[in-house]
C-alpha cells in the first residue's frame, strides 16, 4: 500500500472472515483502494493518533472509521471514547459494525457520539447491502468539518 495514497476508510476488525467480507462489500460499492484494515483497537488508536508503528504516518486522517465492538486488547467502545474525546479526531465519522444488537452496547455507543450503529446480518446479501450503504454514505456523500 502506498504511504501517500489517501486512506478514505479505516476498518477496525479482529475477525479475518468478517474483515474479508467487509472489504468485499466495500469493493462492490467501489471503495476498494481507500480501505485500511487494522486488527484491533490498539492498532487503530496508533493509526489514528500517529503513534507506535504509525508514528511516521503521513496520510490525512480517514474519512470514515468502521469499528467492530468486541476485539482483543482495546475494544471498540474504548476506541470510540478516545476518538470522540480528542479534538484531532472527533469529527471523523465512526460507524459501529458489530454482531451485538444489545441495548446496552447501542446506548453506550450513542452516548459516546457514534455516528451510526449497524448490526452485522448473518445473511451475506444483507450484510453486503448494509456495509456498502454505510460506506457510501459516510465516506462519499457526507460532508464533515475539518479537524478542530
Amino acid at each position: 500500500m502506498n504511504d501517500l495514497e489517501p486512506v478514505e476508510i479505516l476498518l477496525v476488525e479482529d475477525s479475518q472472515t468478517d474483515g474479508e467480507m467487509t472489504q468485499r462489500a466495500l469493493k462492490k460499492a467501489g471503495l476498494t483502494n481507500a480501505v485500511f484494515w487494522v486488527r484491533d483497537g490498539a492498532e487503530a488508536l496508533d493509526y489514528l493518533f500517529c503513534e507506535g508503528a504509525y508514528a511516521d504516518r503521513k496520510q490525512r486522517p480517514p474519512k470514515l472509521v468502521l469499528l467492530d465492538l468486541k476485539m482483543p486488547k482495546v475494544d471498540g467502545i474504548e476506541v470510540l471514547r478516545r476518538v470522540k474525546g480528542d479534538a484531532r479526531t472527533s469529527t471523523i465519522p465512526v460507524v459501529m459494525l458489530t454482531s451485538s444488537a444489545e441495548e446496552n452496547d447501542i446506548v453506550k455507543s450513542y452516548q459516546l457520539g457514534v455516528n451510526s450503529y449497524l448490526v452485522k446480518p448473518v445473511e451475506f446479501d444483507r450484510f453486503v447491502a448494509e456495509v456498502s450503504k454505510a460506506g457510501c454514505y459516510w465516506a462519499v456523500m457526507n460532508k464533515v468539518a475539518g479537524p478542530l
Binding site: 444488537a101 441495548e103 451475506f124
Partner: protein
C-alpha cells in the same frame, strides 16, 4: 315615665290651688261691692250734710226776716215765723253734729257755727224783746243790724267751709274707693288668668295621665297575650287538672304531642285515662300527694296519643290553692323524653355490643383500677389463659395469681404506664398459667384517664404469642434458607444469561462467515460447480439462515429475563387488535374469521404484552392456516382478582400428552417443514406472563383446535 301617684298629687294640688284662687277672687269681689256700697253711702251722707247746712242757712234767714218783719209790723205772725225758725236751728245743728261725728275738723266747725248762731239768735231776740217793750231805738237797731250782717257773713263763711270740708272728704273717699276698685279689678283679672293657667295645666296633666293609663292598659293586654303565647308554645307540655283529675287547662304543645284538640280534653277527659294502664296506680298516689300539698318532680309516665302510639314524658306537678288554702287545680309541666329514652337504649345497646366485643376478643383483656391495681374487668380469653373464673379474679391483684417476682414485674410496668400516660408495648413477656404452663404474651398496656387527665384505670390487652414464637423461628429459618437459595438461583441465572448472550454472539460470527463465504464461493467459483454443487451450497446457506433465526430468537428470549418491566395500565383490546393487524400482514393469503370481544384493561408492560398477543395470534393462525376459513376467537373473563385472556383457533391442535413440552425453549410439536418455527414463541409467552405474576396454559386435541389462556392479576405486579 312619671309615677302616677306623683302625677295625681300634682293634679290635685293644681286643682286645689285653682280653687283657692277662685275663692279669693270671689271674696275680693264681695269686698269691692261692699266698698262701693259704702262709697255710695258716703255720697248720700255728704249730700245730707250739705242739705242740713242749706237748711241751717234758710232757717237763720227765715228767723232774720221774721224778726225784721216783727220789728217793722209788730205782727205776731212774723214773730211766730221767727220763733219756729230759731227753734229749728239747734235741731239742725245737732243733726249736723251727728252726721259729721267721724270728722273732728267738721265737729270743731260745727261748734264755731253754734257759737255764731247763738250770738245771732241772741241779737235777734234782743231786738224783739225791745220792740215788745215798745222801745224804738233806731240807732241801736242800726247798730244791731250792722252787727247782724257781720255775724251772717261769718256764718256763711263757716257754712261754706263746712261744705268745702264735706266736698273734700267726699273726694278723698271716692279716690280711696277708686284705688280699691282698680286693685280689685287687677286681682280679679290676674286671679282668673292664673286660675285658667292652673286649670289648663291640670287638664294637661290629666290628659297625659289618661294617655299613660291607656298605654299601660295596652301593655297589660300585650303582656297577657305574651304570657298566653308562652304558655301555649312552651317547649314543654302544661296542663291543670281539677280535683277529679279532669283537664281544666292544657297548652298547645301538649295537645300537639297527644294529637288531641283542646275541646276533646277540657272538662271531659281525666288525665289518668291517657296513661298506660300500669302507670295509673302510680298516678293516683302522686296526684293525692299533690293535692295534699307536696309537689312531685321528674315522674316518668307513658301517655297514649290519640293515634294509639306511646309518648314517654317526665312530669312535675304542684297544686294551686285559693286564699283559704283549698285545692283549686293542679299545675303540671312535662317534657317529651323520647329522645332521651332512645339515647339510653342506644347507649345500652352500644354497651352491650362493647361488652360482647370485649368478652369475645380472643386475646386476654383486663382492666385494673389505677390506685390499687386490682382487677375490675376480665374477659373470657383471660379466664381461659389463667384457668380461673372471673369471680376468682375480680377484686384481686397480680400477687394473688403470680410469683412475687412476676407480680413485681407486672406492677412495675403498670405503674410506668400510668405515670407516663401513654401506651406501652411489651413485645414479649413470660407468664406462668396454672392450666397452660409457661406462656409468652405480647401485651399492650394503656392508661385510661378521667376528664381531668388523671389515670383511673389501666387497660391491658395480651396476645398469647407462644405458638407464634415457634412459628416465627421457623419462618426465620425458612426465610434464611430461601434467601440463600434465591441468591444462588440469581447467580446461576446471571451466569446462564451471560452464557447464552455470549454464545449467541459468538455463534453469529462463524455463521456469517459460512454464509458469506458460501456466497463468495458461488460468485467467484460458481462456474466451476455443477448443479448438485450449487444445490449443496444452497442447503448450506438455508441452514445458516435458519441457525441465524434460532440465535436471534434465543437472544430475544434471553433478553426477556433481563429486561425491566414498565408496568402501566394497558388497553388490551387495542393491543390485541394491533397484534392481529401485524400478524395478518404475515399471513396475507389467509382470510381468517375473527371474533373478538372487548377485553378488560390489564396492568403490565405494554411492549412485552404486545409480544404475547403476537406470538399467540401468530401461532393460532399458523396452525389453522389449512382450515377454510381459519377461525380465531379472542375473549376474556374476569373474577375478583384476575383476568383470564383467551385465544382459540380451529387449527390442527396438538396431543395433550406432549403438553409438558409445550412451553419449553426450542420445543416443537410439529415438524419445521409442516409448520415453520423455532419453538421459542410459547416459551417467550410463558416467560413474559410469569414475570407479570400470571399463568399460561393451553388445551387442545389433535385436529380439533387449540385454546391458549393467560391470567393476569388485576393489581399488576411491580418488580
Amino acid at each position: 315615665m312619671m309615677k302616677p301617684a306623683n302625677n295625681d298629687l300634682r293634679t290635685n294640688l293644681g286643682l286645689a290651688f285653682a280653687l283657692l284662687v277662685l275663692i279669693g277672687i270671689a271674696a275680693a269681689s264681695v269686698d269691692t261691692v261692699n266698698r262701693f256700697a259704702d262709697g255710695a253711702h258716703w255720697v248720700d251722707h255728704t249730700q245730707q250734710v250739705i242739705g242740713e247746712l242749706e237748711m241751717l242757712t234758710t232757717q237763720i234767714s227765715l228767723a232774720e226776716s221774721g224778726q225784721r218783719g216783727f220789728l217793722i209790723t209788730n205782727d205776731e205772725r212774723d214773730l211766730r215765723s221767727y220763733q219756729s225758725s230759731s227753734s229749728a236751728i239747734p235741731m239742725v245743728l245737732d243733726s249736723l253734729q251727728k252726721l259729721t261725728a267721724d270728722s273732728p275738723l267738721q265737729q270743731r266747725r260745727i261748734a264755731n257755727l253754734r257759737i255764731v248762731m247763738d250770738r245771732r239768735l241772741a241779737m235777734l231776740r234782743i231786738g224783739i224783746e225791745a220792740r215788745q217793750r215798745g222801745e224804738i231805738d233806731r240807732i241801736a237797731e242800726r247798730e244791731r243790724l250792722g252787727r247782724g250782717r257781720e255775724l251772717m257773713e261769718e256764718l256763711v263763711a263757716l257754712v261754706g267751709e263746712m261744705r268745702a270740708g264735706e266736698d273734700a272728704l267726699l273726694k278723698q273717699r271716692s279716690a280711696v274707693l277708686e284705688a280699691g276698685r282698680i286693685r280689685t279689678d287687677a286681682f280679679i283679672v290676674l286671679g282668673n288668668l292664673s286660675a285658667l293657667g292652673l286649670l289648663l295645666f291640670s287638664f294637661g296633666v290629666m290628659k297625659r295621665q289618661i294617655a299613660q293609663r291607656r298605654e299601660a292598659e295596652t301593655q297589660l293586654r300585650r303582656y297577657a297575650a305574651a304570657v298566653e303565647d308562652l304558655y301555649n308554645n312552651a317547649p314543654c307540655g302544661y296542663h291543670s287538672l281539677d280535683a277529679q283529675g279532669i283537664f281544666v287547662q292544657v297548652n298547645d304543645t301538649e295537645l300537639k304531642w297527644l294529637g288531641y284538640e283542646r275541646e276533646d280534653l277540657i272538662g271531659k277527659v281525666a288525665f289518668p285515662d291517657l296513661l298506660l294502664p300500669d302507670n295509673r296506680v302510680s298516678f293516683q298516689e302522686n296526684f293525692s300527694q299533690v293535692k295534699l300539698g307536696t309537689p312531685v318532680n321528674d315522674i316518668e309516665y307513658e301517655l297514649i296519643r290519640k293515634d294509639g302510639s306511646v309518648l314517654p314524658v317526665s312530669l312535675n306537678a304542684t297544686a294551686v290553692r285559693d286564699e283559704a288554702g283549698n285545692y283549686v287545680q293542679s299545675r303540671a309541666s312535662m317534657f317529651d323524653v323520647t329522645l332521651r329514652r332512645e339515647a339510653e337504649q342506644r347507649m345500652h345497646r352500644a354497651n352491650a355490643f362493647l361488652d360482647s366485643v370485649f368478652e369475645h376478643i380472643p386475646h386476654m383483656i383486663f382492666v385494673k383500677d389505677a390506685s390499687e391495681l386490682r382487677f375490675v374487668r376480665f374477659n373470657k380469653a383471660g379466664e381461659d389463659l389463667l384457668g380461673l373464673p372471673k369471680g376468682a379474679i375480680i377484686g384481686r391483684s397480680d400477687y394473688d395469681f403470680f410469683t412475687r417476682e412476676q407480680a413485681d414485674a407486672f406492677v412495675a410496668k403498670d405503674r410506668e404506664v400510668l405515670a407516663g400516660g401513654k401506651l406501652v408495648d411489651i413485645v414479649e413477656e413470660p407468664i406462668h398459667s396454672k392450666v397452660m404452663g409457661e406462656r409468652w404474651l405480647h401485651t399492650k398496656k394503656i392508661p385510661i384517664t378521667d376528664e381531668a387527665g388523671k389515670p383511673r384505670y389501666l387497660l391491658g390487652i395480651s396476645e398469647d404469642v407462644t405458638d407464634g414464637k415457634a412459628t416465627e423461628r421457623r419462618i426465620i429459618e425458612l426465610n434464611q434458607s430461601l434467601e440463600s437459595q434465591t441468591a444462588e438461583l440469581q447467580a446461576s441465572n446471571r451466569e446462564l444469561e451471560s452464557f447464552s448472550y455470549s454464545v449467541s454472539h459468538d455463534l453469529r460470527s462463524p455463521l456469517r462467515a459460512i454464509d458469506g463465504f458460501s456466497r463468495i464461493l458461488q460468485e467467484d467459483h460458481g462456474h466451476a460447480l455443477d448443479s448438485e454443487g450449487q444445490r449443496l451450497l444452497g442447503v448450506i446457506r438455508s441452514n445458516t439462515k435458519r441457525m441465524g433465526q434460532l440465535i436471534d430468537d434465543l437472544l430475544a428470549f434471553s433478553r426477556l429475563g433481563r429486561q425491566h418491566l414498565n408496568v402501566t395500565t394497558v388497553d388490551m383490546t387495542a393491543l390485541a387488535q394491533e397484534a392481529l393487524a401485524e400478524v395478518n400482514l404475515e399471513y396475507e393469503e389467509l382470510t381468517p374469521q375473527v371474533v373478538m370481544a372487548p377485553l378488560p384493561k390489564a396492568q403490565g408492560d405494554p411492549v412485552l404484552l404486545r409480544q404475547v398477543w403476537i406470538n399467540l395470534i401468530s401461532n393460532a393462525l399458523k396452525y389453522s392456516r389449512t382450515r377454510k376459513p381459519p377461525l380465531l376467537e379472542i375473549s376474556a373473563e374476569s373474577n375478583a382478582t384476575h383476568v383470564v385472556y383467551r385465544v382459540k383457533d380451529n387449527g390442527v391442535g396438538f396431543d395433550m400428552k406432549y403438553y409438558n413440552k409445550l412451553f419449553g425453549v426450542f420445543q416443537r410439536l410439529h415438524g419445521a417443514d409442516e409448520f415453520p418455527g423455532t419453538g421459542v414463541g410459547l416459551a417467550i409467552v410463558q416467560r413474559v406472563i410469569a414475570r407479570h405474576g400470571g399463568r399460561v396454559w393451553g388445551e387442545a386435541a389433535v385436529d380439533r383446535g387449540a385454546t391458549f389462556c393467560f391470567s393476569l392479576s388485576k393489581e399488576g405486579r411491580n418488580e
